[in-house]
Protein backbone atom coordinates (compact mmCIF):
# COMPACT_ATOMS: atom_id res chain seq x y z
CA UNK A 1 0.00 0.00 0.00
CA UNK A 2 1.33 3.39 -0.96
CA UNK A 3 -0.05 5.21 2.05
CA UNK A 4 2.20 7.58 3.94
CA UNK A 5 5.47 6.83 2.21
CA UNK A 6 6.72 10.29 3.05
CA UNK A 7 5.85 9.86 6.68
CA UNK A 8 7.68 6.57 6.80
CA UNK A 9 10.86 8.01 5.29
CA UNK A 10 10.62 10.93 7.70
CA UNK A 11 10.37 8.59 10.66
CA UNK A 12 13.39 6.67 9.42
CA UNK A 13 15.45 9.81 9.05
CA UNK A 14 14.51 11.07 12.51
CA UNK A 15 15.47 7.70 13.92
CA UNK A 16 18.89 8.09 12.33
CA UNK A 17 19.28 11.53 13.81
CA UNK A 18 18.29 10.16 17.19
CA UNK A 19 21.00 7.53 16.93
CA UNK A 20 23.57 10.24 16.32
CA UNK A 21 22.43 12.44 19.18
CA UNK A 22 22.42 9.43 21.52
CA UNK A 23 25.97 8.56 20.52
CA UNK A 24 27.06 12.18 21.05
CA UNK A 25 25.42 12.17 24.47
CA UNK A 26 27.38 9.06 25.49
CA UNK A 27 30.65 10.48 24.16
CA UNK A 28 30.11 13.76 25.99
CA UNK A 29 29.38 11.87 29.20
CA UNK A 30 32.63 9.95 29.07
CA UNK A 31 34.63 13.02 28.09
CA UNK A 32 33.05 15.00 30.89
CA UNK A 33 34.51 12.60 33.44
CA UNK A 34 37.97 13.08 32.02
CA UNK A 35 37.74 16.84 31.75
CA UNK A 36 36.37 17.05 35.27
CA UNK A 37 39.35 15.12 36.62
CA UNK A 38 41.64 17.44 34.74
CA UNK A 39 39.82 20.44 36.20
CA UNK A 40 40.36 19.16 39.73
CA UNK A 41 44.01 18.36 39.03
CA UNK A 42 44.82 21.99 38.19
CA UNK A 43 43.57 23.41 41.46
CA UNK A 44 46.46 22.69 43.87
CA UNK A 45 49.00 24.57 41.73
CA UNK A 46 47.31 27.96 41.72
CA UNK A 47 46.31 27.61 45.36
CA UNK A 48 49.91 26.99 46.38
CA UNK A 49 51.21 29.84 44.25
CA UNK A 50 48.63 32.21 45.72
CA UNK A 51 49.76 31.30 49.22
CA UNK A 52 53.43 31.94 48.43
CA UNK A 53 52.67 35.23 46.68
CA UNK A 54 50.67 36.37 49.67
CA UNK A 55 53.57 35.56 51.92
CA UNK A 56 56.08 37.28 49.65
CA UNK A 57 53.98 40.40 49.30
CA UNK A 58 53.68 40.49 53.05
CA UNK A 59 57.35 39.88 53.75
CA UNK A 60 58.51 42.53 51.28
CA UNK A 61 56.11 45.42 51.69
CA UNK A 62 58.65 47.88 50.28
CA UNK A 63 58.82 46.09 46.92
CA UNK A 64 55.72 46.77 44.88
CA UNK A 65 55.43 44.81 41.70
CA UNK A 66 53.40 46.54 39.01
CA UNK A 67 50.97 43.58 39.01
CA UNK A 68 50.01 44.48 42.57
CA UNK A 69 49.44 48.21 42.12
CA UNK A 70 46.02 49.63 41.30
CA UNK A 71 45.91 52.27 38.57
CA UNK A 72 43.29 54.58 37.17
CA UNK A 73 41.37 52.59 34.61
CA UNK A 74 41.33 53.96 31.07
CA UNK A 75 41.52 50.73 29.17
CA UNK A 76 40.91 47.14 30.22
CA UNK A 77 41.79 43.78 28.75
CA UNK A 78 39.52 40.77 28.86
CA UNK A 79 40.23 37.15 28.00
CA UNK A 80 37.10 35.37 26.81
CA UNK A 81 37.14 31.57 27.04
CA UNK A 82 34.76 29.64 24.80
CA UNK A 83 34.51 26.22 23.21
CA UNK A 84 35.76 25.28 19.75
CA UNK A 85 32.67 23.35 18.78
CA UNK A 86 28.97 24.05 18.94
CA UNK A 87 26.03 21.80 19.87
CA UNK A 88 26.43 22.52 23.55
CA UNK A 89 23.28 24.44 24.38
CA UNK A 90 23.54 28.01 25.59
CA UNK A 91 27.04 27.60 26.96
CA UNK A 92 28.87 30.03 24.71
CA UNK A 93 26.05 32.50 24.31
CA UNK A 94 25.80 32.81 28.09
CA UNK A 95 29.47 33.80 28.25
CA UNK A 96 29.07 36.21 25.35
CA UNK A 97 25.99 37.79 26.91
CA UNK A 98 27.82 38.36 30.18
CA UNK A 99 30.81 39.75 28.29
CA UNK A 100 28.54 42.11 26.36
CA UNK A 101 26.95 43.51 29.51
CA UNK A 102 30.43 44.29 30.81
CA UNK A 103 31.47 45.77 27.47
CA UNK A 104 28.42 48.04 27.51
CA UNK A 105 29.16 49.12 31.07
CA UNK A 106 32.75 49.96 30.17
CA UNK A 107 31.64 51.79 27.08
CA UNK A 108 29.32 53.88 29.21
CA UNK A 109 32.21 54.71 31.54
CA UNK A 110 34.38 55.70 28.59
CA UNK A 111 36.77 52.77 29.01
CA UNK A 112 38.24 51.08 25.96
CA UNK A 113 38.51 47.31 25.80
CA UNK A 114 41.06 44.91 24.34
CA UNK A 115 39.80 41.38 23.85
CA UNK A 116 41.75 38.14 23.70
CA UNK A 117 39.76 35.10 22.69
CA UNK A 118 40.27 31.41 23.41
CA UNK A 119 38.21 28.99 21.28
CA UNK A 120 36.80 29.37 17.76
CA UNK A 121 33.33 30.38 18.91
CA UNK A 122 34.59 33.48 20.71
CA UNK A 123 36.92 34.29 17.81
CA UNK A 124 34.00 34.21 15.36
CA UNK A 125 31.63 36.12 17.60
CA UNK A 126 33.92 38.99 18.49
CA UNK A 127 35.38 39.45 15.03
CA UNK A 128 31.83 39.68 13.65
CA UNK A 129 31.14 42.22 16.35
CA UNK A 130 34.11 44.25 15.10
CA UNK A 131 35.48 44.33 18.63
CA UNK A 132 39.14 45.02 19.23
CA UNK A 133 40.53 41.46 19.26
CA UNK A 134 44.26 41.53 19.95
CA UNK A 135 45.02 37.85 20.38
CA UNK A 136 43.42 34.57 19.64
CA UNK A 137 44.02 30.93 20.42
CA UNK A 138 41.92 28.19 18.81
CA UNK A 139 41.64 24.42 18.42
CA UNK A 140 43.06 23.50 21.80
CA UNK A 141 41.09 20.27 22.11
CA UNK A 142 40.05 18.39 25.20
CA UNK A 143 43.44 18.33 26.83
CA UNK A 144 44.94 21.75 26.29
CA UNK A 145 48.49 22.49 27.36
CA UNK A 146 49.55 25.60 29.12
CA UNK A 147 51.99 26.39 26.29
CA UNK A 148 49.00 26.80 23.99
CA UNK A 149 47.82 29.89 25.83
CA UNK A 150 51.15 31.31 27.00
CA UNK A 151 51.47 33.50 23.91
CA UNK A 152 48.02 34.98 24.35
CA UNK A 153 48.57 35.75 28.03
CA UNK A 154 51.97 37.18 27.23
CA UNK A 155 50.39 39.76 24.90
CA UNK A 156 48.02 40.89 27.63
CA UNK A 157 50.77 41.02 30.28
CA UNK A 158 53.07 42.99 27.98
CA UNK A 159 50.33 45.43 27.25
CA UNK A 160 49.67 45.76 30.99
CA UNK A 161 53.35 46.36 31.67
CA UNK A 162 53.48 48.95 28.90
CA UNK A 163 50.61 50.81 30.56
CA UNK A 164 48.35 50.16 27.61
CA UNK A 165 45.71 48.38 29.69
CA UNK A 166 45.11 49.00 33.39
CA UNK A 167 43.09 45.95 34.36
CA UNK A 168 42.85 42.42 33.07
CA UNK A 169 39.90 40.05 33.40
CA UNK A 170 39.13 36.52 32.38
CA UNK A 171 35.61 35.27 31.71
CA UNK A 172 34.65 31.61 31.44
CA UNK A 173 31.99 29.12 32.50
CA UNK A 174 32.10 27.85 36.03
CA UNK A 175 31.27 24.21 36.59
CA UNK A 176 28.56 24.27 39.28
CA UNK A 177 27.29 20.78 38.54
CA UNK A 178 26.40 18.69 35.52
CA UNK A 179 23.13 20.53 34.95
CA UNK A 180 24.33 24.04 35.75
CA UNK A 181 27.13 26.07 34.25
CA UNK A 182 27.45 29.70 35.15
CA UNK A 183 29.59 32.33 33.41
CA UNK A 184 31.95 34.04 35.85
CA UNK A 185 34.34 36.95 35.46
CA UNK A 186 37.55 37.13 37.46
CA UNK A 187 40.00 39.96 37.84
CA UNK A 188 43.54 38.87 37.03
CA UNK A 189 45.43 42.15 37.20
CA UNK A 190 46.05 43.89 39.46
CA UNK A 191 46.24 40.70 41.50
CA UNK A 192 43.68 41.02 44.26
CA UNK A 193 43.98 37.54 45.73
CA UNK A 194 47.29 38.62 47.15
CA UNK A 195 46.35 41.70 49.08
CA UNK A 196 48.08 41.82 52.39
CA UNK A 197 46.43 39.64 54.94
CA UNK A 198 46.43 41.11 58.44
CA UNK A 199 46.30 37.70 60.08
CA UNK A 200 49.84 37.04 58.87
CA UNK A 201 51.30 40.10 60.54
CA UNK A 202 52.02 38.35 63.84
CA UNK A 203 54.44 35.90 62.33
CA UNK A 204 58.06 36.83 62.00
CA UNK A 205 59.65 33.98 60.14
CA UNK A 206 60.65 34.41 56.54
CA UNK A 207 61.98 32.23 53.77
CA UNK A 208 65.58 32.10 52.64
CA UNK A 209 65.45 33.31 49.05
CA UNK A 210 67.70 32.10 46.30
CA UNK A 211 68.61 34.09 44.30
CA UNK A 212 66.38 37.01 45.28
CA UNK A 213 62.84 37.61 46.56
CA UNK A 214 61.99 40.09 43.80
CA UNK A 215 63.07 37.72 41.09
CA UNK A 216 60.93 35.00 42.52
CA UNK A 217 57.94 37.27 42.95
CA UNK A 218 58.16 38.39 39.30
CA UNK A 219 58.37 34.79 38.17
CA UNK A 220 55.51 33.67 40.38
CA UNK A 221 53.08 36.43 39.44
CA UNK A 222 53.31 35.51 35.77
CA UNK A 223 52.84 31.82 36.58
CA UNK A 224 49.90 32.72 38.78
CA UNK A 225 48.07 34.60 36.04
CA UNK A 226 48.78 31.80 33.59
CA UNK A 227 47.50 29.16 35.95
CA UNK A 228 44.25 31.06 36.59
CA UNK A 229 43.58 31.42 32.86
CA UNK A 230 44.49 27.79 32.30
CA UNK A 231 42.16 26.75 35.08
CA UNK A 232 39.39 28.76 33.45
CA UNK A 233 40.05 27.03 30.16
CA UNK A 234 39.99 23.56 31.68
CA UNK A 235 36.87 24.34 33.66
CA UNK A 236 35.21 25.65 30.53
CA UNK A 237 36.06 22.37 28.82
CA UNK A 238 34.33 20.38 31.53
CA UNK A 239 31.32 22.72 31.20
CA UNK A 240 31.28 22.22 27.45
CA UNK A 241 31.04 18.45 27.78
CA UNK A 242 28.38 18.67 30.48
CA UNK A 243 26.32 21.13 28.45
CA UNK A 244 26.66 19.01 25.34
CA UNK A 245 25.55 15.94 27.22
CA UNK A 246 22.41 17.70 28.47
CA UNK A 247 21.67 19.26 25.07
CA UNK A 248 22.07 15.95 23.28
CA UNK A 249 19.88 14.19 25.82
CA UNK A 250 17.06 16.64 25.25
CA UNK A 251 17.57 16.35 21.49
CA UNK A 252 17.20 12.57 21.71
CA UNK A 253 14.07 12.96 23.84
CA UNK A 254 12.59 15.43 21.36
CA UNK A 255 13.33 13.07 18.50
CA UNK A 256 11.51 10.32 20.40
CA UNK A 257 8.45 12.54 20.84
CA UNK A 258 8.50 13.49 17.19
CA UNK A 259 8.71 9.85 16.13
CA UNK A 260 5.72 8.81 18.23
CA UNK A 261 3.67 11.74 16.89
CA UNK A 262 4.53 10.86 13.31
CA UNK A 263 3.78 7.21 13.97
CA UNK A 264 0.32 8.20 15.17
CA UNK A 265 -0.32 10.29 12.09
CA UNK A 266 0.91 7.45 9.90
CA UNK A 267 -1.37 4.89 11.58
CA UNK A 268 -4.37 7.18 11.25
CA UNK A 269 -3.69 7.73 7.56
CA UNK A 270 -3.28 4.01 7.01
CA UNK A 271 -6.51 3.23 8.81
CA UNK A 272 -8.39 5.88 6.84
CA UNK A 273 -7.16 4.40 3.59
CA UNK A 274 -8.28 0.90 4.57
CA UNK A 275 -11.71 2.14 5.66
CA UNK A 276 -12.11 3.94 2.39
CA UNK A 277 -11.15 0.89 0.39
CA UNK A 278 -13.60 -1.33 2.26
CA UNK A 279 -16.44 1.12 1.83
CA UNK A 280 -15.67 1.29 -1.89
CA UNK A 281 -15.81 -2.48 -2.16
CA UNK A 282 -19.04 -2.62 -0.16
CA UNK A 283 -20.57 0.08 -2.32
CA UNK A 284 -19.47 -1.76 -5.45
CA UNK A 285 -20.98 -5.03 -4.19
CA UNK A 286 -24.26 -3.25 -3.34
CA UNK A 287 -24.46 -1.81 -6.85
CA UNK A 288 -24.20 -5.23 -8.48
Amino acid sequence: MAVGKEIRTKIASIKNTQKITRAMEKIAASRMRKTKDRMQATRPYSKKIARIIKHLAHANPEYKHSFLIKRDVKRVGIIVVSSDKGLCGGLNSNVFRKTLTHLLQWEKDGIDVDIATIGSKAAGFFSNLKANVVANSVKLGDSPHIQDIVGLIRIMLDSYNAGHIDELYVINNEFVNTMTQKPIIQQLLPVIACEIDTTLSGRHWDYIYEPDAKDILDHLLIRYVESIVYQGLVENNACEQAARMVAMKSASDNAGNLISELQLIYNKARQAAITQEISEIVAGAAAV
Binding site: Y45, H145, R154, Y207, E210, R223
Partner: protein
Amino acid sequence: MTMIVHVDIVSAEEEIYSGRAEMVFAPAEMGEVGITPRHAPLITKLKPGEVRVKIDNNETLHFYISGGLLEVQPHMVIILADTAIRSKDIDEAAALQAKARAEEALQDKSGKLDYAQAQAQLAQAVMQLKALDKLRKRGG
Protein backbone atom coordinates in the same frame (compact mmCIF):
# COMPACT_ATOMS: atom_id res chain seq x y z
CA MET B 1 62.12 6.25 63.69
CA THR B 2 63.53 8.17 60.76
CA MET B 3 62.25 11.63 60.15
CA ILE B 4 60.15 12.24 57.12
CA VAL B 5 58.98 15.24 55.14
CA HIS B 6 55.82 15.63 53.07
CA VAL B 7 56.46 16.20 49.37
CA ASP B 8 54.07 17.68 46.82
CA ILE B 9 55.11 17.99 43.20
CA VAL B 10 52.48 19.88 41.22
CA SER B 11 52.33 21.46 37.80
CA ALA B 12 49.66 23.77 36.40
CA GLU B 13 48.18 20.81 34.57
CA GLU B 14 48.28 18.04 37.12
CA GLU B 15 49.48 16.75 40.46
CA ILE B 16 52.61 14.76 39.75
CA TYR B 17 53.45 13.32 43.14
CA SER B 18 52.22 13.61 46.68
CA GLY B 19 53.63 11.59 49.53
CA ARG B 20 56.33 11.21 52.17
CA ALA B 21 60.06 11.13 51.77
CA GLU B 22 63.26 11.01 53.77
CA MET B 23 65.06 13.37 51.51
CA VAL B 24 64.46 15.37 48.33
CA PHE B 25 67.04 16.44 45.78
CA ALA B 26 66.23 19.22 43.34
CA PRO B 27 68.18 21.15 40.67
CA ALA B 28 68.11 24.65 42.12
CA GLU B 29 69.33 27.59 40.07
CA MET B 30 72.43 28.00 42.24
CA GLY B 31 73.26 24.28 42.24
CA GLU B 32 71.59 21.08 43.32
CA VAL B 33 70.04 21.09 46.79
CA GLY B 34 69.22 18.20 49.06
CA ILE B 35 66.37 18.81 51.49
CA THR B 36 66.06 16.80 54.68
CA PRO B 37 63.23 17.11 57.23
CA ARG B 38 63.33 20.27 59.39
CA HIS B 39 65.10 22.26 56.74
CA ALA B 40 64.83 26.03 57.21
CA PRO B 41 62.14 27.72 55.09
CA LEU B 42 63.52 28.30 51.62
CA ILE B 43 62.28 29.41 48.23
CA THR B 44 64.36 28.99 45.13
CA LYS B 45 63.92 28.72 41.40
CA LEU B 46 64.64 25.41 39.72
CA LYS B 47 66.48 24.66 36.52
CA PRO B 48 65.37 21.96 34.11
CA GLY B 49 66.63 18.68 35.50
CA GLU B 50 65.93 15.72 37.67
CA VAL B 51 64.13 15.69 41.01
CA ARG B 52 64.89 12.70 43.20
CA VAL B 53 62.59 11.75 46.03
CA LYS B 54 64.18 9.28 48.44
CA ILE B 55 61.33 7.44 50.13
CA ASP B 56 63.53 5.04 52.11
CA ASN B 57 66.86 3.33 51.74
CA ASN B 58 65.52 1.00 49.09
CA GLU B 59 63.35 3.22 47.00
CA THR B 60 64.03 6.47 45.19
CA LEU B 61 61.66 8.09 42.72
CA HIS B 62 62.91 10.13 39.79
CA PHE B 63 61.01 12.94 38.08
CA TYR B 64 62.11 15.14 35.24
CA ILE B 65 60.98 18.75 35.47
CA SER B 66 61.50 21.57 33.01
CA GLY B 67 62.11 24.26 35.58
CA GLY B 68 59.91 25.71 38.28
CA LEU B 69 60.04 26.68 41.90
CA LEU B 70 60.89 24.96 45.15
CA GLU B 71 59.31 25.89 48.44
CA VAL B 72 60.58 24.35 51.64
CA GLN B 73 59.04 24.47 55.07
CA PRO B 74 60.22 22.37 58.02
CA HIS B 75 57.86 19.48 57.34
CA MET B 76 56.82 20.16 53.79
CA VAL B 77 58.46 20.43 50.39
CA ILE B 78 56.48 21.83 47.47
CA ILE B 79 57.75 21.79 43.94
CA LEU B 80 55.83 23.94 41.47
CA ALA B 81 56.95 22.46 38.19
CA ASP B 82 56.69 24.07 34.76
CA THR B 83 55.17 21.79 32.19
CA ALA B 84 57.48 22.76 29.37
CA ILE B 85 60.79 24.46 28.90
CA ARG B 86 60.17 28.16 29.02
CA SER B 87 62.34 30.96 27.90
CA LYS B 88 61.80 34.53 26.92
CA ASP B 89 62.27 33.78 23.22
CA ILE B 90 59.79 30.91 23.16
CA ASP B 91 57.19 32.98 25.00
CA GLU B 92 57.64 35.85 22.61
CA ALA B 93 57.32 33.62 19.55
CA ALA B 94 54.09 32.22 20.97
CA ALA B 95 52.81 35.75 21.57
CA LEU B 96 53.49 36.71 17.97
CA GLN B 97 51.62 33.66 16.76
CA ALA B 98 48.56 34.42 18.86
CA LYS B 99 48.52 37.94 17.50
CA ALA B 100 48.85 36.78 13.90
CA ARG B 101 45.93 34.42 14.39
CA ALA B 102 43.77 37.25 15.69
CA GLU B 103 44.54 39.40 12.69
CA GLU B 104 43.86 36.52 10.35
CA ALA B 105 40.51 35.87 11.99
CA LEU B 106 39.58 39.54 11.58
CA GLN B 107 40.40 39.55 7.89
CA ASP B 108 38.88 36.19 7.08
CA LYS B 109 35.30 37.30 7.47
CA SER B 110 33.80 35.66 4.40
CA GLY B 111 33.48 32.07 5.55
CA LYS B 112 32.33 32.66 9.07
CA LEU B 113 30.00 35.50 8.25
CA ASP B 114 28.19 33.42 5.66
CA TYR B 115 27.82 30.65 8.15
CA ALA B 116 26.47 33.01 10.82
CA GLN B 117 24.00 34.49 8.34
CA ALA B 118 22.84 31.05 7.28
CA GLN B 119 22.33 30.14 10.89
CA ALA B 120 20.24 33.24 11.52
CA GLN B 121 18.11 32.55 8.45
CA LEU B 122 17.61 28.98 9.56
CA ALA B 123 16.43 30.11 12.99
CA GLN B 124 14.00 32.54 11.34
CA ALA B 125 12.62 29.85 9.07
CA VAL B 126 12.08 27.53 12.00
CA MET B 127 10.21 30.23 13.91
CA GLN B 128 7.99 30.89 10.89
CA LEU B 129 7.22 27.21 10.53
CA LYS B 130 6.31 26.99 14.19
CA ALA B 131 3.97 29.98 13.88
CA LEU B 132 2.32 28.43 10.83
CA ASP B 133 1.89 25.18 12.69
CA LYS B 134 0.15 26.97 15.57
CA LEU B 135 -2.17 28.82 13.19
CA ARG B 136 -3.05 25.59 11.46
CA LYS B 137 -3.84 23.83 14.74
CA ARG B 138 -6.07 26.68 15.86
CA GLY B 139 -7.87 26.78 12.49
CA GLY B 140 -8.18 23.07 11.90
